[in-house]
Symmetry: C2
Subunit: 573 residues, 2 copies
């Protein structure tokens, strides 16, 4: 037994691009340059590539892991070839905006691609995720010189990118960063310090690596306001663009981790390494936040991708595993027909659809914000997408093990890898608590819940649409969502009442984030019900969407009420 | 960094034995032969042994794992010495009933011991758990000959025991067992077949292993009613009790698992191995169920133990990890003071207390049933204890990783081991679905909810006691528990309404089990509140118990309402 072939979720993306949100999302985002059908083709192409090239390396990556040999990190067998194929197929360029020489695909389409890279091989996908994040950050903040020297090489895929924030004494608390950058006469900076947890911090799949490094400068203010951002390449670049000497950056260690073994997590020592200032002095957080926002949304796609891969494996096993003959019955049914196995599979798939739909919705919101739309709503969904999908991915990947029974606990089965891989997602790119504090502090309390109100008003519109349809699933979905919205209003009022006692608010910020994520998931399903019931006749796929929505409403949405009780309590002294 | 020293939870057991249930539970169970104070000493002694001998081998066991070498399983460094010390200290004999030559300790005390063995080293504890289960099974069913030859050696700890049920085509479905036992002229049986997932199926820490094997006999009825139980030793026993030749049982493989690496999970091939019938022909399930019930309760103690070990490590880390200096503040606070870290720690510890208390309560119920008490209630709690504690252990051990941030994902930190180890607990000894179907089918639907009513009536008594105390935590606890009881009555009525549509009942049996477990946990906390508020003055430990109860009521108990919504929906078509 081993992980079955990867099946890209193309049908869901067709539905999400073209009709779930009541319009052709892709056409709107691209001003008509692309349609949902075009986007489906792109996603299907990515899916084929992922299934044939990336997915077969998932177990290899887990088994071999990344290794440090004589100061150089070696990636698992096949990763270098896969990376070259990935670049040659244009999948890095596909991520880049037009301004950086990329394809400028709408965010919704990139959400689909992000899920597919992660679903087929999450450890590999981290290279894409960080390079893509750095492309967006440099595109937003870098000087023309830096753009020409570094950004072009990232967009072409010749070089890869990393994000260097964390230090042994500065994790969540960026203000504690001690890495020091000292100006040199030639305009470059000498960077000295140690960075830890650097994903894809060293490897052998591309000829150079561009590190984006947060560091303090002499005389800078204390805390996060004194941080500046630097580009520091693994190999120095000559004035003519050719590669020169190795920079003074040493890979001290590669971590031995619970999961994503194929992704090298490095400890990097900067020993007066050469770096170049990106953006304004002391303005390092601004650029880093562009990268971090991109990475946080990317985590949503990773959570969805890993969850779906785990689900696919569980569904395949449940369909193939036939129960032995029981008491006279000559042959049993596949375990997928057992009521509890069916429950587990529907629990997983209904969560995954909600996660996937929210990823598309949030990515599209960010596009709309860039085009002058509601930036507050777009920013509001970043922590929800990151926090909620990654937390739910823990349960989904755990359920996938459970469906396998004892076989799920055997490593060779392959399903445990998804569970181990998924565990990091609630931690890196800001823990769930960080997401929740961002949400509650900056995006709810600060504007008195105005953004929540805007969201709930939108959900009310969907409710009105649902009420206009005569179908039992529409009626049940509306009843449940209505109740959940009312509870969310109450919970938000309870949270706002804690404005003057921040400990109370932050003691329930994670439950509040999970409440909003769970509600948003219910809304995504409600939108799907509305879209499906516009069809004149319902086919098998439509029926499955209705069942999924009904299941979500019965099994997952009620959690909103429990979480609201928790939010109301504030901190328990 | 590594897992900190194990701290046995002696204070909780003192409280549970002596006052939480409003009486000296140990004195009642032992007819006054022992008191809660005596039991505390026993548990404290076990704790010392576990902390000094077993806990230091936990990480070693994970790292080295069990290995198959030339047909013989080798356990990790130190396991053999630890096992001898364990036996010499009398901890196997402590588990055995008086009728089998053991100490005959009350179940409540054995619950405490079980948690401690598992908390200090779950992989090692499985040897204890299976040997103990077999002792109880043979004590209940074996002939005098078998008792003398095998049971005495198990009770002395010279030999260890295993449980052989599962086959490649017979997991949950015992009726599909194909292993065949054919009678020989000398009264023994020739056993032929393959058994998988045999915990501690082979090892090098004791001179012999007693396998308890479910097999079919020629001409036996189909299905589970045709199964008989056999004892088959690894090494044959001569008439004088000395060890003879190896039996025809081969260890084909040792599994490579997600967790509990130190526990050898074996594939055993029986090639006309010699076995002896235990109990009645075709009555194999009866004896196996004695062992399985013991093992299922043991799983509750394992879930509690692993959870507590993970909690201890998280609490230690959070107390020691100091945030770097932030914006002018010269030094930060330990992360334990951050609102969300405090939430995670209280979430864990309040669950663990509930799990621990329910373990003691359920074990005592089984004692009382043996002494002529309410057997239905005792049997009712076995699946709840097993199912609910093991499911919650997944979240608790996940939270322990989360408290560590990025360090939690690094294997050397040691906390990921608890997460990996815990994952098996919802699967073996009957998955959560099996527990839930047992609960719903045999213990709720079959008697029209009478046992649930009996339980709720008891909770109502606790509510009356809570209402009689003037304290805000008592008032809040009563309000919440009252609401949860009402919801449980409604959910039970909804479930009973599915009596004629079993698929509906079994499609929500896991949510219903989790509802009852969560409610029972709230009841345990309510009993603790009543007991604590009997004290004239409240010390720090008392205050912590009230906070824990209050937290559980605010963060965990509300889940009852969400689960009730799910139960009401039945199967989603």
């Amino acid at each position: 037994m081993a992980t079955p072939p990867y099946q890209p979720p193309v049908a869901d993306y067709t539905f999400l691009f073209g009709e779930a949100f009541g319009l052709d999302l892709v056409a709107r985002a691209s001003d008509g340059e692309l349609t949902a059908m075009d986007a489906t083709e792109i996603v299907a192409g990515a899916g084929e590539f992922a299934a044939s090239v990336l997915a077969p390396l998932e177990a290899v990556g887990d088994r071999e892991g990344a290794r440090l040999e004589d100061g150089q990190v070696r990636l698992p067998t096949g990763f270098a070839d896969a990376y070259r194929a990935f670049v040659d197929a244009g999948w890095i360029t596909a991520e880049a905006p037009v301004s950086a020489g990329g394809d400028g695909l709408p965010g919704a389409v990139r959400a689909g691609l992000g899920e597919i890279w992660n679903g087929s091989n999450a450890a590999f996908a981290l290279c894409w995720l960080l390079t893509a994040g750095q492309i967006h950050a440099l595109d937003a903040t870098a000087s023309d010189d830096l753009r020409e020297t570094y950004l072009t090489k990232l967009v072409s895929g010749e070089w890869t990118g990393t994000m260097n924030l964390t230090e042994p004494a500065a994790g969540t608390d960026l203000g504690a960063i001690r890495t020091m950058a000292t100006p040199r006469d030639d305009g470059s900076w000498a960077i000295r310090g140690q960075k830890i947890f650097i994903t894809w911090g060293d490897h052998d799949v591309a000829e150079n690596i561009v590190h984006l490094v947060l560091a303090r400068t002499p005389g800078a203010p204390d805390g996060a306001r004194g941080l500046s951002l630097f580009v520091a390449p693994k190999v120095l670049v000559n004035p003519d663009g050719s590669l020169g000497e190795r920079n003074a950056i040493t890979t001290v260690a590669v971590e031995h981790k619970l999961g994503i073994h194929g992704s090298p997590t490095c400890v990097l020592a900067y020993e007066d390494a050469t770096g170049y200032l990106v953006g304004d002095l002391h303005g390092g957080l601004a650029g880093m936040f562009v990268m971090m926002n991109s990475a946080r949304a990317g985590m949503g796609f990773q959570a969805t991708g890993i969850s779906d891969r785990a689900y696919q494996q569980a569904a395949t096993y449940a369909a193939e595993r036939v129960q032995g003959p029981v008491q006279g019955r000559p042959a049993g049914a596949p375990v997928a027909e057992h009521p509890d196995v069916r429950r587990l599979l529907l629990s997983m798939s209904s969560k995954i659809f909600a996660m996937r739909a929210l990823g598309v919705y949030a990515a599209d919101l960010l596009d709309r914000a860039d085009a002058g739309g509601d930036a507050a709503l777009a920013e509001f969904f970043v922590p929800i997408l990151k926090g909620w999908t990654t937390e739910d991915a823990q349960q989904v990947t755990s359920d996938a093990i459970q469906v396998h029974g004892g076989m799920g606990f055997i490593e060779e089965t392959g399903v445990a890898q998804h569970y181990r891989d998924a565990r990091i997602t609630t931690i890196y790119e800001g823990t769930t608590a960080i997401q929740s504090n961002d949400l509650v502090g900056r995006k709810v309390l600060r504007n008195g819940g105005a953004t929540v109100d805007a969201l709930l008003a939108q959900i009310d519109e969907t409710l009105a649409q649902l009420r206009g349809v005569d179908h039992p699933v529409a009626a049940r979905t509306a009843d449940r969502l209505d109740r959940a919205v009312a509870t969310t209003r109450r919970a938000t009022a309870d949270l706002l009442a804690f404005a003057s006692s921040p400990r109370d608010a932050y003691a329930v910020s994670v439950p509040y984030l999970m409440l909003l994520g769970t509600l948003a998931g219910g809304w995504m399903h409600a939108l799907a019900v509305v879209a499906v019931l516009r069809h004149e006749t319902l086919d098998e796929g439509d029926a499955a969407r209705l069942t999924s929505a009904d299941f979500y409403g019965s099994h997952h949405l009620p959690r909103v009420h429990a979480l609201a009780d928790t939010v109301a309590g504030g901190e328990i002294a």
